[in-house]
Amino acid sequence: MTFRNSLRLHWYYIPLIFFLVFFSCQNKNQHQIQQTALYPPTEQTEDGGTLVVGIRTEPETLNPLFALSQSARNVLGLIFGRLADINADLETFSPGIAKSWEVSSEKRQIVFHLHQNIHWHDGRPLTAEDVVFTYQMHIHPVIAWDGISYKQNISDVTAPDDSTVIFKFHHSNHTMLLDAVEGYILPKHILQQYPPEKLYTAGFNRRPIGSGPFIFVEWQDLQHIRLAKNESYFKATKPHLDCVIFRIVPDNFNLLNQLKSGEADMVEGIHPKNFLAIQKSWEAGRSAIRPISYLGRRYDFIGWNLIDPQSYAEAVAAGATRASIDSLIRPNKLFGNQKVRVALTMAIDRQAIMNSVNFGMAVPLHGPVPPILPSYNADANIVWEYNPGKSLDWLAELGWKDHDGDKILDRDGEPFQFEILTESGNLHWEQVATIVQAQLAEIGIRTTLRFLEPALLYGKRLPNREFDAVIIGWTVGLTPDYAPLFHSDYFFTPFHFNGYYSPEFDRLDALAKSAPTKAAAQRYYDKIARLLSRELPYTWLYYRMECSAIHSRFKNIIFDKRGLYVNLEDWWIPQSERLKIDRIFEN
């Protein structure tokens, strides 16, 4: 069984917790635009200048084997290189460290031809040996690399000569190339000095040496990380900016302040409210801070607990396996019934939530497939529109009525009440939860809110199924995989917390994965979307737009669903618009 690591928890570790991490945006049609270039690419560019990126959390490490946070990944993308980089269509690739490759389905292998003149930042040549070493690190059990799932279909990696690497696979499928190129290539000559179990604490993690367009210069703890242009970058176009600085500012208010005062040039994850203000002054020509919004990678949802927590605990204690799910697990007394989930979904006004929490900078979401993926088909979902009257009718059919006149629905003397969990410190979800609570109260459902710290929520309550409903979000990978969330193979794993079990889903998922072509797979993805949007293991709320802002002196910026760091090496600043900071770190 192979599967993709396509979904990760919204894991706002660290100071984060206090500082509202907000993402979303307006302009509902923007997701149809594949890519946005802020300026038409120009022939003449000018070298020099400094970009200061304001970030909330400090990267935990700059070793690609251990980095999990988004802030670390953004920095790593500038320092390290991959064999090939995925394009905006999420299907084709552009050359990276490999200048070309041949995919052979029959032989179940890919042959990569590396660029001849690539050097590590310390001057040593990058060879096929480094690629092989990187693969060995990726699958090393002691390393426990986060992206291991990409490598599970690979049987062997060899280097017949210094510039050729051959990846061999167990099975041939349409994701072979993606699997092979995932992960940054690491310098063997440095990392082999450390035994694998010492790598986690290696000095390299704080002073990385890569092969990317920017060279690591310094890291001042909790203050900033500074990178400089790589003069001997192997690609034809060298980076234009002299210097990129990541400045760490945990407090949101202060971070925005830095953007306004010019101490930071670029900030991501701006609260929509603040974003709208930035947009207003930009449009009025009062500010040099350009707002940027695009459909990102996150959506939020309400997850219902479909199973009875106690029966789950008993089943786990009894060593239950997938085969005994049916006999051991009892459905949840509230949400085990699909009609209840539909009724609750119809009682929730997504649009009101989006307007109030996201200030309109989000698109409603009705099914599991994220709108940024090629496999998204809006018509495949069954849409349960906001309709509290109908919701009450459905509940009444099931016996939930306000018999005793206390404005709370009840059945057999039991009031309809439950607890909604969300992550504490994430003001965004706290707000969604507060509004959902009020909307459910409208139809007579009593809820209590509980905001839990991430370690407790994701580490204890969800994995142990000790919850009724939870409001959180997922970050979406670039390839679709719904199995970890809904497939019965994953029934006892932490991410499958809502306990959805459907043989029909299992069947469709297997068919989609083994489909020989993308078109064939699409049919099954549509069926999956239809099935899940009817059964509603989640009530999907909305897909967020990312809100960022960047100083207008930077030209040639391209951003799309892959993010804002797609072509940072091509950014440049005209001499006439340079500021004091641009001259300080001149090379």
Partner: protein, 276 residues
């Protein structure tokens, strides 16, 4: 001469403090008669409105009336502060009374524990709050109390150590009264002054700590709110939506100032040196 002046002035600060607190208490207790709104019902269409005739202090992100929320928020703030202080004072007084009375090894060990507790980083409140699964109001009260009783214990211990040698205690002892009777009937009334002063100081401290817990997102859970949580809710755009956080901040400020004024006045009243 100077002493007399001080007295009258300090009496003034006592009166001023009482006046302020009385006003705040009236506000949070009968303020709800002044407002037609409910503190929990949302009206998303009227979200984030600036102060107007219908909403005296504007509305928050959910269109709830800030003025109304301040009234209910104040109740919670006061309840938390008063109960936490009471618990801390009771613990502190008991520890102080018995350590001073029994002395010896018991005293040594307990006071060493007090040292540990005093040196404990306050951030552990945060760890305990989140570790124990969010923050119910009872939990908050207990944790705040748990981290605040030590000063009182020290003060009481010092006072009792002095009083132990006074004639009235010796007389009580000689007449064969029990420990509890001496401690609670005879000594305690005589040292109540400093205890009350320390309670007043504690309460100001607890209100401020509770509000900084809210700043860290660990205070009272929504939809309910204390002044600290309301203050925190205005953090997204503190300059643009000043009407959310400023009034809550002023409420905290004025209340704490009121207690501080009373504390000043009382300290002066009870100050043994000045009474001489």
């Amino acid at each position: 001469m100077n002493n007399l002046h001080t007295k009258s002035k300090m009496g003034g600060s006592l009166r001023a403090g009482c006046g302020i607190l009385l006003f705040i208490l009236l506000f949070i207790l009968i303020g709800r008669l002044l407002t037609p709104y409910d503190h929990l019902s949302q009206n998303l269409a009227e979200a984030l409105e600036s102060p107007s005739r219908s909403h005296w202090l504007g509305t928050d992100h959910y269109g709830r009336d800030i003025f109304t929320r301040l009234i209910y928020g104040g109740q919670l703030t006061w309840i938390i502060a008063i109960f936490a202080t009471l618990i801390a004072i009771v613990i502190g007084t008991l520890v102080g009374l018995f350590t001073a009375w029994w002395g010896g090894w018991f005293d040594l060990i307990v006071m060493r524990l007090v040292d540990v507790a005093l040196a404990f980083p306050r951030i552990f409140i945060v760890l305990l709050v989140i570790g124990l699964g969010g923050s119910s109001i009872e939990l908050l009260i207990w944790l705040l109390a748990l981290f605040s009783w030590m000063e009182t214990a020290r003060i009481v211990r010092a006072e009792v150590s002095t009083h132990k040698n006074f004639a009235y205690v010796k007389a009580a002892r000689a007449s064969g009264l029990g420990t509890n009777r001496i401690l609670f009937r005879h000594i305690f009334p005589n040292i109540a002054g400093p205890v009350i002063v320390s309670a007043i100081l504690l309460i100001t401290n607890i209100i401020l700590v509770e509000s900084s817990l809210s700043f860290l997102g660990l205070g009272v859970q929504p939809p309910f709110a204390s002044w600290g949580t309301i203050l925190n809710e205005g953090k997204i755009d503190p300059l643009g939506n000043w009407w959310i956080s400023v009034p809550a901040g002023v409420c905290i400020l004025v209340t704490v100032a009121g207690f501080n004024l009373i504390g000043d006045g009382l300290r002066d009243l009870f100050d043994p040196y000045r009474l001489n």
